[in-house]
Amino acid sequence: MSILATSFLQNHNFIDSLYILAVVLFILGLRGLAGPRTAVRGNQVAAVGMAIAFVATLLQEGVVPNGHTAILIAIGVIVGTLVGIPAARNVKMTAMPQMVALFNGVGGGAVALIAWAEFRRRFPGAGGDWYTKSMIASLFAAIIGSISFWGSNIAFGKLQEILPGRPIKLPGQQLINLVLLVICVGSAVAIAAGTHSQALFVLGVLVAAGVLGNMVVLPIGGADMPVVISLLNAFTGLSAAATGIALNNFALIVAGTIVGASGSILTNLMAVAMNRSVPSIIAGGFGGGGGEAPAGGGAGAGAGGTARSTSAQDAAIQLAYARQVVVVPGYGMAVAQAQHAVREMALALEKKGVEVKYAIHPVAGRMPGHMNVLLAEADVPYDQLKEMDDINPEFGRTDVSLIIGANDVTNPAANNDPGSPIYGMPILEVARSQSVIVLKRSMSSGFAGIDNPLFYDPKTAMLFGDAKASVSEITAELANL
């Protein structure tokens, strides 16, 4: 390559143009993600944008000054690729939410580590030429990145059930968190004021923020975890934008901010769907609570009744002679990997002239869209999946609602028991259908840890057992009818 061509490629206007192109591709990609038909393309477009931004950065003058640097970059990229590809390829569809948490966490970790490297580059005898704005942005990135890294890891641990899903609380939790926050911010201020102590940066900023990240997420119940992951996702975006300000990089500022903004919106949408507010989730709530305090009080109404249990054969007969069946999937279906069995059962029913629809609650499973992904994997036609507002008016015309491993999203206490902790949460109104069959492993309470009066309703029958086994038994019985 001639010197002229090389200098053109390294021209900062050319690099910036590539960045602008990359950012445009991100925006177009996100817009593509808005519709089921354009989403795959949208994701690819965003990935191309990322590749362009990556190459543009490497072209920039001085970024790869020598072979040693090139080797180190190659090591990082290759190791990251070798870890990332199999992780993304092999993860089960049910484990998707925790995978997103993990990917988000490493992003936050990268932010915090880069801030640390910036500190080392600027302070220990390196001329002290750190502009105030870059320094403040880096310190901000260090705190938020570290919180995001550790918080995401805890979220992963809870969803993966390495850690208990119920809230873990320490006495004086709020006070401890406040003290930790003061330590982080205080250390950051001390560094900004001219303290060149690396120990203070590592312990006072990175470690204290990391502990804070742990402490904030640990007391949050598993049911609220999707909201937390989304919030941490937005945080990581903001911290990436802060890194962009520190390093004066256009692509980082724009991409990070877009993620921060979209993540905040998404977080709010999820919280609204659960009738929760983001502050109350962060303060640590009932979500996943062992059922002690909140469950005892209000939701006790149904506890006096008895649940009626049924057999696969009875369930099959009930379903086969229905005109319309609405399947309500929940996390139990995901855990049991029952989606293919459900699809087979639905086909068997359709063969008998039964109309089958699927009612998807916005937060069924552990993330919005979780059920859609699983059912789509099992080739359930997209137009049979009905969102809550579309299906609720249909329950009055439904003969059988078949609830597969869903619980809290069908709990009528949300509508009629002001004492219930989930009072006011929009639910799927299955109780309005002619009859209800609930497939469930046991009578234990759902993720929110509260009792479900639906199970004691006279028109409800319980079919206990693993969701996949139960569904397969029903399908087998259908064939015999």
């Binding site: 990251g80 993304a88 890194t243």
Partner: protein
Amino acid sequence: MDLVTQIGVLVLAAFVGFEVISKVPNTLHTPLMSGTNAIHGIVLLGGLLVIGEAVGAHDVLGQIILVIAIAFGTINVVGGFLVTDRMLGMFKRKPEQPAQTDAGEGQQ
């Protein structure tokens, strides 16, 4: 860019983020979260930008920190886009319903 320009860019980008996202249906929230998650892996570029100086300063610990940061950022980007693609692959319409597909290539 001076600070005011940077903040201007940041504010405009925030509006773009709000606008683009507020139109996404519930169904696609998980893939969307995963997709935006991949995009913030762009922080990887930050690692690329500063590692050269750590090498120049013979700062071994700094180099180790940044190699890890680059690896982390790469996991975020590569894993994020792939996992999103896998999720979205589930939404593809199947060939047995050619009447409903957008792409008419299947028809003669």
